[in-house]
C-alpha cells in the first residue's frame, strides 16, 4: 500500500479540545525525536478522558529491508581477505559483532578506527548487520509509551504486518474496552 509520510493524522478527544491540539504537537515532537515520522503513513488517536483510555491506530509505510555489510561500508578484496571501510560509525559495533560471529575473533582485525579486515576467502558482503524492521518496531513501541499519558499504566499493544494498535488505560484493560476503542477508531477511519 503506497502512502505519504503521515498523510492522515487525526486526533479525537471528546471534551478536551485543548488537549487534542497539544497532543498533536507532542506526538509530532516525539516521532520526530525518534526519527519515525517517515515510516508511519496514517495515524488515528482517540482518547476518552471519562473512562479513561488512550488508543492509537497506525499504518506503517512499506517494509524496511535488512541492513547488510555492503550497505554499511566499502568492501574491497585484499591479500588474504576483505577490507571494509566504514564511513558512518553508527553500525560499527553491530558490524564487528556480526563478523566475529561469522568468522571468529581471530579472523577479524581492526587496523584503524574505521577499517576492518576479515581474513577469509569467503566474502562477508551478504551478512546481515542490523534488522531495521525490528529496530523500527522497538523505537515505535518506545514512542507510544512516551506519548501516552504517564498515569495510563495498563498497556496493550498489537503489532501487525502493516499496522499497529496501542491501548493504554488507568484501570484494567477488558475485552469490552478494547472493543470500544477499536470501534471508536474504526469510526474515525470511515468518517
Amino acid at each position: 500500500m503506497e502512502m505519504d509520510p503521515l498523510e492522515v493524522f487525526e486526533i479525537q478527544m471528546p471534551g478536551e479540545d485543548y488537549g487534542a491540539d497539544k497532543y498533536r504537537e507532542i506526538i509530532m515532537d516525539i516521532l520526530q525525536d525518534l526519527g519515525l515520522i517517515r515510516s508511519i503513513g496514517r495515524l488515528y488517536v482517540y482518547v476518552n478522558i471519562d473512562t479513561p483510555y488512550f488508543a492509537v491506530l497506525g499504518m506503517i509505510r512499506g517494509k524496511q529491508p535488512p541492513l547488510r555489510v555492503r550497505d554499511v561500508g566499502d568492501l574491497v578484496p585484499t591479500e588474504g581477505g576483505y577490507q571494509i571501510t566504514v564511513e558512518d560509525e553508527e553500525h560499527m559495533a553491530s558490524l564487528i559483532r556480526v563478523l566475529w560471529g561469522a568468522f571468529g575473533r581471530e579472523k577479524v582485525e581492526q587496523p584503524d578506527r574505521n577499517v576492518l579486515v576479515v581474513l577469509s576467502d569467503r566474502s562477508p558482503e551478504e551478512l546481515v548487520v542490523a534488522d531495521l524492521e525490528t529496530e523500527f518496531r522497538r523505537d515505535l513501541m518506545d514512542a507510544l509509551v512516551r506519548i501516552a499519558p504517564e498515569g495510563f499504566r495498563n498497556r496493550r499493544n498489537e503489532m501487525g504486518k502493516d499496522g499497529f494498535f496501542f491501548l493504554a488505560a488507568e484501570e484494567t484493560i477488558t475485552p469490552e474496552l478494547i472493543a470500544e476503542a477499536k470501534e471508536k477508531i474504526g469510526g474515525m477511519q470511515n468518517a
Binding site: E16, Y18, G19, K22, P149, E150, G151, E170, E171
Partner: protein, 307 residues
C-alpha cells in the same frame, strides 16, 4: 529597605562588589563562579543602589533586579519520568532561578493518573518547607480538576500550571492558576511559551507578597539574612559545605546545609551582638531535605523583642 539584585560579570575584580556590599550593610546571598563569569545574588540597601550601579558600570558587569531573591520555591512534577521532565518543569525551575529564587525540583512518588494519584506525609512536609510551590500539571482539564487533593493539605501558596484555560473558582485551593504551560515535548522557545513562564514568575511574586504581608502582621524577631551572616561567621564549617548554596534563605527562616546531629547545638548557640542566641529566637529543627538543619525564626509576639 533591601533591594534584591543579581550581578553578572567577570571574575576579575568582582571582590570589589562583595566588599562594597559588606560596607553598605547589604548581604551576599549566593556566589556562583562559572569559569570566567561570576553571578552574585545580593540584597542591597535601596538608597545605596546608585553606588553599586556606578561600580557595576565601571566593571562592565550587568545588574538586574531579582524579585525572587532570598526565597525557596518548589517545582513539583507528578513523577520524574520522561513524560513530565525535562520539559516544561526544568524550564519553570530555570526561569525561577534566573529571577533569583532557589528552586528545588520535586518528583512525587505516586503523583500520576487521575484516580490513583496521591501525596504522602513526607512529601507534604518537604514541600511545606518552601516559600511557595509550583505544581506542573498536564493538558487535560478534567485531570487538573481531579488532582486537587495533591495540594489541598499544603500550607504554603500553591501555583498550579497546566494547559487549558480554567476558571479560578474551579480551583479553590490554588493560589493562582497559570494556563498554556501543560505537557510539551520540546523546550520552551516560542514567544507565547516564554510569556507563560513570565506569568508563572508574576504569580509566584504575588504569592510571595501575600506571605510577606502575613509575616508583616507579626514581624519576625530578626531577618533571615542577618541570621545567615552570623551563622557564616560563627559556624565556619558551613562555608566548606559542598552544596551550591550552603545556606538557603526562606521568608521565615533558613536552611543550613550541615548535618543536624553534629551541628544543631553550634547553630543554636550562635550569638548576636545584642547578646541573644539563635536558640532563643528561633526553632532549630531537622529538615526533611537530607539531614540538613531547618531554622524557623519566631515572631515578635512569641519572643517579645526585636534584634
Amino acid at each position: 529597605m533591601l533591594d534584591p539584585v543579581m550581578f553578572t560579570g567577570g571574575v576579575y575584580k568582582h571582590d570589589l562588589v562583595t566588599e562594597l556590599i559588606e560596607d553598605l550593610g547589604g548581604y551576599l546571598l549566593q556566589k556562583n563562579v562559572t569559569q570566567s563569569e561570576v553571578i552574585l545574588l545580593m540584597l542591597v540597601p535601596h538608597q545605596d543602589m546608585p553606588v553599586l550601579q556606578a561600580l557595576t558600570k565601571e566593571l562592565k558587569g550587568k545588574l538586574e533586579r531579582a524579585p525572587l531573591a532570598g526565597t525557596e520555591i518548589a517545582v513539583v512534577t507528578p513523577t520524574l519520568a520522561i513524560h513530565h521532565l525535562p520539559h516544561p518543569a526544568c524550564d519553570v525551575a530555570e526561569y525561577l532561578r534566573r529571577n533569583g529564587a532557589k528552586s528545588n525540583m520535586i518528583g512525587m512518588g505516586r503523583g500520576v493518573a487521575r484516580e490513583i494519584a496521591q501525596i504522602d506525609e513526607y512529601e507534604t512536609a518537604l514541600i511545606n518547607e518552601h516559600d511557595a510551590v509550583v505544581f506542573t500539571f498536564g493538558n487535560f482539564a478534567d485531570c487538573i480538576l481531579k488532582k486537587e487533593h495533591l495540594y489541598r493539605t499544603l500550607t504554603i501558596p500553591v501555583i498550579v500550571t497546566g494547559g487549558p484555560e480554567m476558571k479560578k473558582e474551579d480551583l479553590p485551593y490554588a493560589f493562582e492558576y497559570v494556563a498554556n504551560v501543560g505537557r510539551i515535548a520540546h523546550r520552551s522557545r516560542k514567544a507565547t511559551e516564554i510569556g507563560s513562564l513570565d506569568n508563572i514568575i508574576a504569580a509566584v511574586g504575588r504569592a510571595l507578597d501575600s506571605v510577606r504581608a502575613q509575616i508583616s502582621k507579626d514581624p519576625l524577631t530578626t531577618t533571615p539574612p542577618r541570621v545567615m551572616e552570623v551563622v557564616r561567621e560563627q559556624v565556619p564549617d558551613v562555608t566548606a559545605s559542598l552544596s551550591p548554596l550552603p545556606i538557603a534563605l526562606n521568608l521565615n527562616g533558613l536552611r543550613i546545609k550541615l548535618p543536624f546531629e553534629e551541628y544543631h547545638e553550634a547553630v543554636e548557640g550562635v550569638t548576636f551582638d545584642e547578646g541573644v542566641t539563635l536558640g532563643e529566637i528561633a526553632k532549630v529543627m531537622p529538615s526533611r531535605m537530607k539531614s540538613y538543619i531547618l531554622v524557623r525564626i519566631l515572631p515578635t509576639s512569641e519572643t517579645g523583642f526585636v534584634v
